[in-house]
Every structure is written in C-alpha cells, then in structure tokens.
C-alpha cells in the first residue's frame, strides 16, 4: 500500500548547514537592501520633482517681478533723479564758505591807518591795494597777513611803491588755505 503525504514542514525547520544559513541571511538582506534602495530612489525622485516644481514657480514669479520692474523703469529713473538732485542741493547747502565772512576776515587784518583803494575777492584769491602814511602801517598789514591762520602764507605776494613822503602805495595778493583755483 502506497501512502501519499505532504511535507508541511518548512525547510528551515530542517537542520541547516553553515553555508545554507549564510545563504538565507544574504538573500534576505539583499532583498531588504534592494527594497530600501528603491524607496530611496522614489524619495529622491519625488524630491527632484518637488524642487523642479518649486523652481518653475519661482521662475514665473521672477519673470512677473521683472516685467513689473520694466513697467516701473520710468518711475525709478524719476526717483533716482529727484534723489540725486536733492543730494546735489544738500552738497551745495553744506558748503559753508561765505564771501561775506571772508571779506570780514580780510578787513579785520587791515590796520586803521591804511586806506584801501582796491578790494578784489575772486574765488579763493584775495587781492587788495591801498595807501598808507608810513611803512610801519604797511609792515603791520603784511605781518597780520603772514600770521593769519586762514591764509596760505606761501601764496602772499606783496609790492610797495613810495608815491610821496607820506604816501606809500602797496599791493597784496594771497590765497585762502583751502584754495582750489590755484592748485
């Protein structure tokens, strides 16, 4: 009599050899590693898609802003022009050199014994001429100019001529220290 039977026992229940256990571990590990790799692949692909979409959205937003900027170009140039103009005006306002102050300063250096016949202030250059009753008065004048803090000592040019015994004529030219015209 022949008995047919089904073996319901798993192989693993059978005693395994050393290499069989390694083989089982390797195949299982390989399976999970490949699944993991595929999951990673899917994630990176989705990431790629996400950034791709984000980039496209940003590109269209940038294009929109650029077109707006082109529309604003005229307004921008107006604003820039107004800003530059006000800056130039504030530069002019910050220039504190005053011809009146300079004239006052120069006149304060002239002793009372001297009579001015010519006064000329041209930019940073001052030129005066006059007469005096004595050389002492002229010496005081030249000393005052030489010691004046706001004047460039090296630029002082003087000349005198005696018209009569008590009438001496002089000329004096010099520059203010921040003189630019003669540089």
């Amino acid at each position: 009599m022949v008995y047919n039977s089904i073996n319901l026992l798993e192989d693993s229940l059978q005693p395994l050899s050393h290499w069989e256990r390694i083989y089982l571990w390797t195949s299982k590990t390989a399976k999970y590693l490949l699944i993991l790799a595929e999951i990673a692949l899917v994630i990176t692909f989705l990431l790629h898609l996400y950034y791709d979409n984000k980039l496209n959205a940003l590109k269209s937003r940038i294009n929109h802003e650029v077109s707006l900027l082109q529309e604003h170009r005229k307004q921008e140039s107006t604003i820039v022009m107004v800003a530059k103009t006000t800056k130039e005006l504030s530069t002019l306002m910050s220039d504190k050199t005053s011809a009146a102050t300079r004239r006052k300063y120069i006149l304060s250096l002239v002793p009372p014994q001297i009579t001015l016949t010519t006064f000329m202030l041209n930019f940073d250059t001052i030129s005066i001429a006059g007469t005096a009753g004595s050389y002492d008065a002229i010496k005081t004048l030249f000393d005052n100019f030489n010691n004046a803090k706001e004047l460039d000592k090296d630029s002082i040019v003087t000349s005198t001529s005696q018209l009569s015994h008590s009438n001496i004529h002089f000329n004096l030219t010099c520059n203010f220290k921040n003189a630019q015209s003669n540089k």
Binding site: T26, K54, M81, T91, L92, T101, F119, F123
Partner: protein, 194 residues
C-alpha cells in the same frame, strides 16, 4: 573548482555579488545623480528665492517712493521756481533787486552766463551733474558798510547763491560802485514732467 550555480555556497556568493552589483548600480546610476540634482535644484531655488525677494523688495520700494513723490509734487514744484529748468531767472533777479534795495543798494546792471570757467569747474558748483551753474555778474551801487549784511542775506536765500567774486575800488563817496559775481543753479531736467 567552486560550483556557483548548484551548491549552496555558490548560490550565496553569487547572490551576494549580484546584490552588491545591483546596489552599486542603483546607488551610482540612480540615487546619487538624483540626490546631486536635487541638491543643485535646492541651491538654485534658494538663489532664485533670493533674487525674487530682492526684485520684490525693489518693486515695493519703487512703488512706495513713487507714491511719496506724487504726494510731494506740490513741494517739488518750488524746485522749479528756485532752480528754473527753463533758465527763467526772473524770480532770482526780482529777489536780488528787493534784497539789494533793503540794504540801500541799487542794482545798476546784471548779466548772466552758463559758461563754466576753469575756476568754477574746480569748485563744488562745477562738479554737479543735474544742476547747471549759471554765473551772474551784477553791478551795485550803495553803502560799503552794508555790503556784508547784504551778501550774507543773499547767500542765505533758497536760491543757494554762491558769491564767488567781490570787486570794488577806492571809496570816494558814500555810495560805492561794487561788482559782484555769484553762481545760481538751474535744473537740467524738469522733475515734474518725469
């Protein structure tokens, strides 16, 4: 000789090798390039984001400042009075005349020129880009004692005149003849029609 197909040992080694090969292929051929590209896209998106933010901020600033400009137009209108872009200096001359009179001076002669001399070029006036310096030469007759007060007053007017030259001769009478040169400015562009 090792039998790679039939023995368990062979199957283990071949499965292991095949897995390694597959992992390498998947990693180097798919995962790594995709990650690199994703990183590159991320960096690029950050740069784009920055550009977008800057452009957006610029557009917003322009809109806001332009609104302010529109609100300030009446005040800016005065720019055209004090610095007439069309070169109409009648307001300057009228004011000069009035101030001179207040200090006892008569305005006898006046002329102006837009020629920028070498000396003007070296001053602040010569370095302006949007304002055109115009040199006025005027002859006044009046008391020398009031000259400083007159010049100080004139230089403090909103026309921002800059007196560059004062010339006078011997004082022979109470009313001295004085030659004064000053620079005033006109706008090169009409700001209101922009």
């Amino acid at each position: 000789m090792l039998n790679l197909t039939n023995s368990v040992q062979g199957k283990t080694i071949s499965t292991g090798l095949l897995t390694l090969l597959m992992l390498n292929l998947v990693f180097w051929g798919a995962i790594k390039p995709t990650i690199s590209q994703a990183i590159a896209l991320h960096t690029q998106s950050q740069e784009y984001e920055e550009v977008y933010q800057q452009l957006h901020a610029k557009n917003e600033t322009i809109t806001k400042v332009y609104e302010q400009f529109q609100d300030m137009k009446p005040q800016l209108k005065t720019f055209n009075y004090y610095f007439p872009y069309d070169g109409d200096f009648s307001l300057v001359i009228a004011n000069l005349h009035k101030i001179a009179q207040a200090y006892g001076f008569n305005l006898q002669q006046i002329s102006f020129s837009e020629r920028i001399t070498k000396q003007i070029r070296k001053t602040v006036s010569g370095k302006l880009l949007l304002l055109q310096p115009t040199t006025f030469t005027c002859q006044l007759k009046g008391p020398l004692a009031n000259l400083n007060s007159f010049i100080t007053h004139w230089e403090n007017t909103p026309f921002l005149p800059k007196v560059i030259s004062i010339t006078y001769g011997a004082q022979t009478q109470t009313r001295q003849s004085i030659l004064i040169m000053f620079v005033v400015y006109r706008l090169k562009y009409n700001l209101l029609t922009q």
